[in-house]
């Protein structure tokens, strides 16, 4: 080894170059962005089997063959209340579509409060209760409201954390209908 210092400098330079290339390749990956997007899009929707307000059950199988909008919410969440008029308008526009269904899944709430909220606001779509947040975790929710579009074949076509506008809900339904 004639020039050990040169070789060591070369090795350090090599490491710095490799590190630089890796950083450059990953510079577009925003960890915050990763935390904001659902990793279920394009995958099969998680199975769920939850009680509804009427004492029956609602399962993923119930929405098979339809384009479904699944909305996680609860009665005490302010953004959920702000979102509710958009959901009402959207549901009124599509409730008679034979290929459409909508489910509200309630997480972290009391059944009595949910019933009161549903009655007060005249919510007509199906409402399921998720007391242990099992379905919420399977969907990878980070809070509420969160909305998922599920295709007739059971694939998650779109997802959003936060309140939805009527226009966004229309786009979600279109995505569900277009996803195989």
């Amino acid at each position: 080894m004639k020039h050990p210092a040169r070789i060591a400098a070369l090795a350090v330079a090599l490491v710095v170059i490799v590190f630089g290339v890796v950083l450059a390749l990953n510079v577009g990956n925003d960890p915050q962005e990763d935390a904001r997007q659902s990793h279920l899009v394009g995958k099969a929707a998680p199975a769920f089997d939850l009680p509804n307000l009427a004492g029956g059950r609602i399962t993923l199988a119930d929405v098979a063959g339809k384009s479904a909008i699944v909305n996680f919410w609860n009665s005490w969440c302010t953004p959920c209340r702000e979102e509710e008029p958009s959901l009402q308008r959207f549901y009124a526009a599509h409730k008679d579509d034979p290929d459409f269904t909508m489910i509200g899944i309630v997480r972290q709430d009391e059944t009595g409060d949910v019933k009161a909220y549903v009655n007060k606001n005249g919510i007509e779509w199906k409402v399921a209760l998720d007391p242990g947040s099992v379905a919420a975790l399977d969907f990878g929710t980070r809070g509420q409201p969160e909305t998922y579009a599920i295709s007739p074949s059971g694939v998650v076509a779109a997802a959003k954390y936060g309140p939805m506008s009527s226009k966004e809900l229309e786009l979600f339904l279109a995505a569900a209908r277009q996803t195989a």
Binding site: V12, V15, V22, D34, S133, A136, G143
Partner: protein
Amino acid sequence: MIRRWGPWIALGLVVVIALAVVLWPSGAQSVAARAHDLETEFKCPECQGLSVADSQAPTSRAIRADIKRRIKAGQSDAEIRQAYIDTYGESILLTPQDSGVSLLVWILPIVVLALGATGIVFALRRNRDQPHLHATEADERLVQREQGDG
């Protein structure tokens, strides 16, 4: 011989001891201990910078219950970790994974440390190999003469 190989043997010992400490199996853990270890690895999805273990957010409470349920159902730590990564992405982990690009975060410091240690060894060897010059009587006389003139 010892002077020549001593630094390398010392460096090797440090690496072996560090690997032994990191990789030594810790034995069977209780459900609660395993659950707590996993809870400290996961980030609370609805808060900033808190682990699931430290957060009282509803989602963190649900995750803690889910982890215990999965352990009792016989899932391994790796399976539980992967289930959460599949659903939430790698952002659910508080520390980077030791695979893929994230592996660099763990490897680079070791590489840089090894390069630094190698550099020090080479520098010491070069210093040792350099001839140690001693002043001759003629040199000392020359210095004394110069000092006397000053």
